[in-house]
């Protein structure tokens, strides 16, 4: 992507992307971009990197809360189902024992809790990440396929209020980014 183009000739821009060689360089660049005031950006690494999400200002996620709610829902649902079957829908007198024999329901209650909580963990994580997603602009960058192999990328998005093509690409170069490219939307 060349910068000699006139602004009005440019296609819509998703952001500016810089490439790094190591995770440490990327984390440092993210921290500096964050302290320079950029907020709408994302970092890409072929593996989880400690402190990377925190460096771009993303500190907490709600996966654990969802899983907790899923687990409670599963446990209550499982226990309630058994209670309803044995007491209401199909009461069965076995040697005069109480219909509400709750200790016997614990194993199934536990399994239902794990089942619903586990499914919530996967599907919540995918939903919050917006996956499955068939198209995303970052894949327009030729080199970006190495983000899943051995390269590390920082993309400052054009929706950031501070974003402007010239200064932002210059800023990314100052951070030590090897290849700085514009990402077509």
């Amino acid at each position: 992507m060349s910068e000699e183009l006139e602004l009005d000739e440019l296609p819509a821009i998703h952001g500016a992307m810089a490439e790094f060689d190591t995770p440490e360089e990327l984390v440092e660049a993210c921290e500096r971009a964050y302290s320079a005031g950029f907020r709408r950006m994302d970092a890409y690494a072929p593996m989880p990197v400690t402190g990377l999400a925190e460096a771009i200002g993303y500190k907490k996620n709600k996966v654990a809360l969802c899983v907790l709610i899923g687990g409670i829902f599963g446990a209550c649902g499982g226990f309630g189902l058994l209670e309803w079957i044995t007491v209401v829908a199909y009461p069965h007198n076995v040697g005069g024992r109480p219909l509400n024999s709750w200790p016997a329901y614990i194993p199934i209650t536990f399994e239902c809790m794990v089942l619903i909580a586990g499914l919530t963990a996967l599907f919540c994580m995918l939903a919050m990440n917006g996956l499955p997603q068939p198209y995303h602009p970052v894949f327009n960058v030729q080199e970006f396929e190495r983000a899943s192999i051995d390269k590390f990328f920082l993309c400052i998005e054009s929706s950031d209020p501070q974003f402007s093509i010239g200064p932002t690409t210059e800023f990314l170069r100052d951070l030590g980014g090897k290849e700085v490219t514009l990402v077509p939307a």
Binding site: A45, V49, L52, A53, Y58, Y90, A104, A121, M125, N129
Partner: protein, 470 residues
């Protein structure tokens, strides 16, 4: 782009018992090495893979034949009859489900305990879990007599307004095994998503990129995504850990909650769980030792993995030995004459040979693993792992058959002799399991690529820290 030249047949060297990764790897080489196995053209598959896949496929067909005969003629084709109503079907069910447990142990419990050596074998063991649960799940359904009514096991609104009995351990089993299968699949797929993305980006052919692209769901390695991903993975590991313990506990309740002498004991849950992990590690070693040789993965699955798995096998084997000892002790010390008769009969009765073999395979021979020389001799470890697999199968045979064949009244005593269809079903599921394993190593990354990248990163970090200290 993956280069197949990286996979030429030069012998890769095992870095020894201290390292989980061979030297000279970087982020790219681990990707190419692991994904390269999948990209290898079918014509270039190792000959041993082709032979193995073919033989196991023959047994898949045997399984289908055995099922057809069973459905056509009924459960009488098996050797089961009163008093031994639970024959091979339940023996194999418990054996298979136990084998699955090491997979969850490796992927979940060792993850929570931060055991870094789990990294290169967790994907493979999770696949093993999944396929073993698939084999296990078949047996109770085939044993139903009318397998086409298997959905009656689940509570669903029906026109008869009948509901299953949730106070029965057999019903708990339905929930435990189906939950276990589902969560194992979720855990496995969750781990595969980033690797599918890697393969989407470096597969040599467009059609491969399309398939892995669909499976990868558009994963783009975003830091924010990784953040949620790690949390979800950690929680799944936290959920799978009590789940794996609960599943074999519930399986042991199938026995322990009855009043049959030999089954009705409180030691069953912990001793079943330990036995399950024991047999699972044996199966991991049985499979991974040949595969790492065939696919030249000695630098990714090293002596460190084999040594650690052998130690865990030894440890869980000792817990199982303690279980046997306590079972024998309490049948004598408890003073119940049916119980003590049962145990004496188990050791000296018509099935005494199976008990002797069980002690030999499960307790006596694996003690060789105390020696470091044995643990570092890969062929010996492989042989011991097969012996343990046989031993654990015998354990389930001893528990199921010897406890049932001498009923309370001598007039209802009997002998169980498995028929050819029993053997056909059992060996058929073995073939089915191995066939799925063969397909798995060929179609999916059998080692977690992104986790090995983390190992590369960690090794570099340690090297730098060491140099700075100098």
């Amino acid at each position: 782009m993956a280069t197949l030249e990286n996979l030429d047949n030069k012998e890769l060297i095992d870095p020894g018992p201290d390292k989980i990764l061979g030297t000279g790897h970087d982020y790219e080489t681990v990707t190419d090495r692991i994904a390269g196995i999948v990209y290898l053209p079918w014509k270039k598959s190792p000959r041993k893979w082709l032979v193995g896949a073919f033989i196991s496929f023959v047994f898949v067909n045997l399984l289908m034949l055995a099922m057809w005969v069973l459905f056509a003629k009924g459960i009488g084709v098996w050797g089961v009859n009163i008093p031994i109503g639970w024959g091979f079907a339940i023996v194999n069910f418990v054996w298979w489900i136990g084998i699955g447990h090491a997979g969850t142990l490796i992927s979940a419990i060792l993850f929570l305990l931060k055991q870094d050596w789990r990294t290169s074998i967790n994907r493979f063991s999770e696949a093993m879990t999944l396929f073993a649960v698939a084999c296990a799940g078949m047996f109770p359904v085939l044993h139903l007599g009318r397998p086409w009514l298997a959905y009656w096991l689940f509570p669903y609104p029906n026109s008869m307004w009948l509901w299953p009995q949730p106070r029965s351990p057999l019903e708990w089993d339905v929930f435990a095994v189906s939950t276990y299968g589902t969560i194992s699949l979720v855990f496995w797929y969750c781990g595969l998503i980033p690797d599918f993305a890697s393969m989407r980006d470096n597969a040599p052919h467009l059609w491969q990129r399309k398939i892995y692209g669909i499976l990868g769901l558009g994963w783009r390695n975003s830091a924010i995504h990784w953040h949620r991903y790690q949390k979800a993975y950690l929680l799944l590991a936290g959920l799978a850990t009590p789940l794996v313990l609960s599943v074999h506990t519930v399986v042991s309740f199938d026995f322990a909650i009855s009043i049959i002498p030999g089954w009705h004991t409180t030691i069953f849950p912990p001793y079943f769980v330990a036995g399950a992990i024991y047999s699972g590690f044996a199966m991991v070693l049985t499979l991974i030792i040949p595969l790492r040789a065939w696919y030249n993965m000695r630098d990714l699955i090293t002596l460190r993995h084999i040594d650690a798995a052998a130690k865990l096998m030894l440890g869980t084997g000792l817990i199982v030995a303690y279980g046997y000892a306590m079972e024998a002790f309490f049948s004598w010390y408890g003073g119940d004459k049916y119980e003590s008769f049962m145990y004496w009969n188990r050791m000296t009765g018509p099935y005494g040979f199976s008990y002797a073999l069980l002690i030999t395979c499960n307790i006596a021979l694996p003690q060789a693993l105390w020696s470091r020389r044995v643990r570092h001799n890969i062929v010996l470890v492989w042989i011991i792992s097969i012996i343990v697999n046989c031993g654990m199968w015998l354990e389930r045979f001893v528990i199921v058959v010897t406890s049932l064949h001498r009923d309370f009244l001598p007039s209802s005593w009997g002998i169980y002799i498995p028929t050819k269809w029993d053997w056909a079903t059992f060996t058929g599921t073995l073939g089915f399991f191995l066939f799925l394993i063969f397909l798995f190593v060929r179609l999916l990354p059998s080692i977690s690529i992104f986790e090995v990248r983390e190992v590369v990163h960690h090794d570099r970090y340690m090297e730098r820290a060491y140099e700075e200290k100098l």
